[in-house]
Amino acid sequence: MHSFGYRANALLTFAVTILALMCAMASVSDNFNTPTPSAQVQVLNINWFQKQPNGNDEVSMTLNISADLQSLFTWNTKQVFVFLAAEYETPKNSLNQISLWDGIIPSKEHAKFWIHTSNKYRFIDQGSNLQGKEYNLTMHWHVMPKSGKMFADKIVMPGYRLPEEYR
């Protein structure tokens, strides 16, 4: 009763409980944020469009990507992982998602950006279905908090189309 050990144990338990509660409250507070991000992508050029020796189509393209994701940041946000994916359907696959570009936004000041780049990852189909193919470009983001629950969302931009012929 009231020995040093008991007091140390009670104090430690209380401290850890308070810490856990603070982490939980920090995480819950993110739910009150209502982000209003915007994004825009232009395909400036199809650099390269060929069938690989193994039969799969591959595309390389130049993209102009601009976005304003500042509203995703709260005081609990550590970083935002943002990426651009091409999404389309083929006879064999109901959904193909190919990441074309991704980036990590470390702070709110970097969250409004404009980038001119070719695709960072190879855009390779599982098969030879890309000639004349219509696809969506979707910007996804994953909000990483300093602690707690992670959030994700996206903007779908439809209406993109690949050329009919290889080049």
């Binding site: 992982f81 696959n93 300093k146």
Partner: protein, 153 residues
């Protein structure tokens, strides 16, 4: 009592999250700056489709320790409902095909143990220290054992 409580909590977590391993410790730097060594991840596994951008924990045949990486490519089969998934660590320059079994190009659903839904920083360091310095583990276990034996509760 302590051991039983811990076991019950773990099993309850397994039931709630639907994953064999509801909490994992990040052991490498491949997902920095998002996840650092010593962070713990809370996992969830359900029937929802795997999509690009998700952080998944997967097993590779022949490797003991599961890997936590991000999905960068998804091909969802129409007829069979199977899915082909390619992953990559945020900090790595190349995708994970080198980590997969030789000749394997895609992960399938059965390789995936869970997806990350939340995390806490620093909490996992205890596990890492105990794994890397076994002497500390034995000291801690001995101390706890001693406490239990000498306790008057």
């Amino acid at each position: 009592m302590i051991v039983t409580s811990a076991l019950i909590i773990w099993k309850a977590l397994m039931c709630i999250t639907g994953s064999e391993s509801p909490v994992v410790v990040v052991l490498s730097e491949s997902m920095e700056p998002g996840f650092k060594r010593g962070d713990i991840l809370f996992l969830h596994m359900n029937r929802d489709p795997i999509r690009a951008g998700e952080i998944v924990v997967f097993n590779v045949d022949g490797r003991e320790i599961p890997i936590v990486h991000r999905v960068i490519m998804v091909h969802d089969r129409k007829d069979t409902g199977e899915v082909d998934v390619l992953t990559k660590g945020d900090k790595n320059d190349v995708d994970d095909r080198l980590l997969y079994v030789h000749g394997q190009l895609w992960l399938q659903r059965h390789h995936v143990m869970g997806r990350a839904v939340g995390f806490l920083p620093y909490v996992g360091w205890v596990t890492i220290i105990m794994t890397e310095k076994p002497i500390i583990k034995y000291i801690l276990i001995s101390a706890l054992g001693l406490l239990v034996i000498t306790s008057k509760d």
